[in-house]
Amino acid sequence: MTIRVLIFGALAREMSCKEITIDVTAPVTVRDINQALAAKHPSKSAFFQSARLAVNHAFAAPGSPVQQGDAVALIELVGGG
């Protein structure tokens, strides 16, 4: 299945996009998405392997399942205030 991962801030500027699309085979966990992102962008492999992901607007543990249609976002390099 296809998962859209939203990205923000400096990462979005650097990659010149607002989302990364990955293709993964169900069943899928957050860890699988991290690994798929790392495989798609090997130059940032270490970053994507450990990046925090939110699923449906809440931080999700590596073993959490991800379903088709879930809102997935990469929440790193935040800096409010």
Binding site: L6, F8, G9, A54, H57, V78, G79, G80
Partner: protein
């Protein structure tokens, strides 16, 4: 105890939101009278209650102001991007946790989204507590955790 969280468009007003335990009905907080870009229809307030004012012995207010330079380069503004509704939920959860942990009386958080010019306010955290020590500790912890866990990003707009 009360928590009030608001993320609104543009710079913050110089005036704080109505004191969290003043007798202001929630409806008026959700539709402030002040006319500015920050009072858009998407503004909101949450979880308002009315604790006893006589318990408050300290009020601490921190305001974040956009500096005129970023990494040595002059900037015109910062552009804040909030991932909603997660940003508001995360701020609210953080405020509730800090409130409990430090036994505070009230927390009011305001954060800008969109563009905020250099010299303008983008963030305000007001803490009411019985004594200063818990308010000071809570202030520091809140800001550290917000910068780590709340999905708000800022981008410089250079001159």
């Amino acid at each position: 105890m009360s928590v009030l969280v608001r993320i609104s468009l543009g710079a913050l007003s110089s005036q704080r939101l109505p004191h969290s335990f003043s007798p202001v009905p929630a409806a008026s907080l959700q539709a402030p009278a002040r006319k500015s870009p920050s009072n858009s229809a998407s503004d909101y307030a949450q979880n308002i209650s009315a604790p006893a004012t006589e318990q408050v012995g300290a009020t601490l207010v921190f305001e974040g102001i956009v500096r005129a330079n970023e990494q040595g380069r002059a900037i015109r503004a910062l552009s804040y991007e909030a991932y909603e509704p997660m940003a508001t939920n995360a701020l609210t959860e953080l405020a509730r946790d800090i409130l409990r942990k430090h036994a505070l009386i009230a927390i009011t958080v305001e954060h800008s989204r969109g563009e905020v010019l250099a010299g303008e306010r983008s963030f305000r955290l007001a803490i009411d507590s019985a004594h200063r020590k818990e308010a000071l500790a809570a202030m520091d912890e809140f800001i550290d955790r917000m910068k780590r866990d709340v999905p708000i990003w800022k981008s410089p707009i250079y001159i």
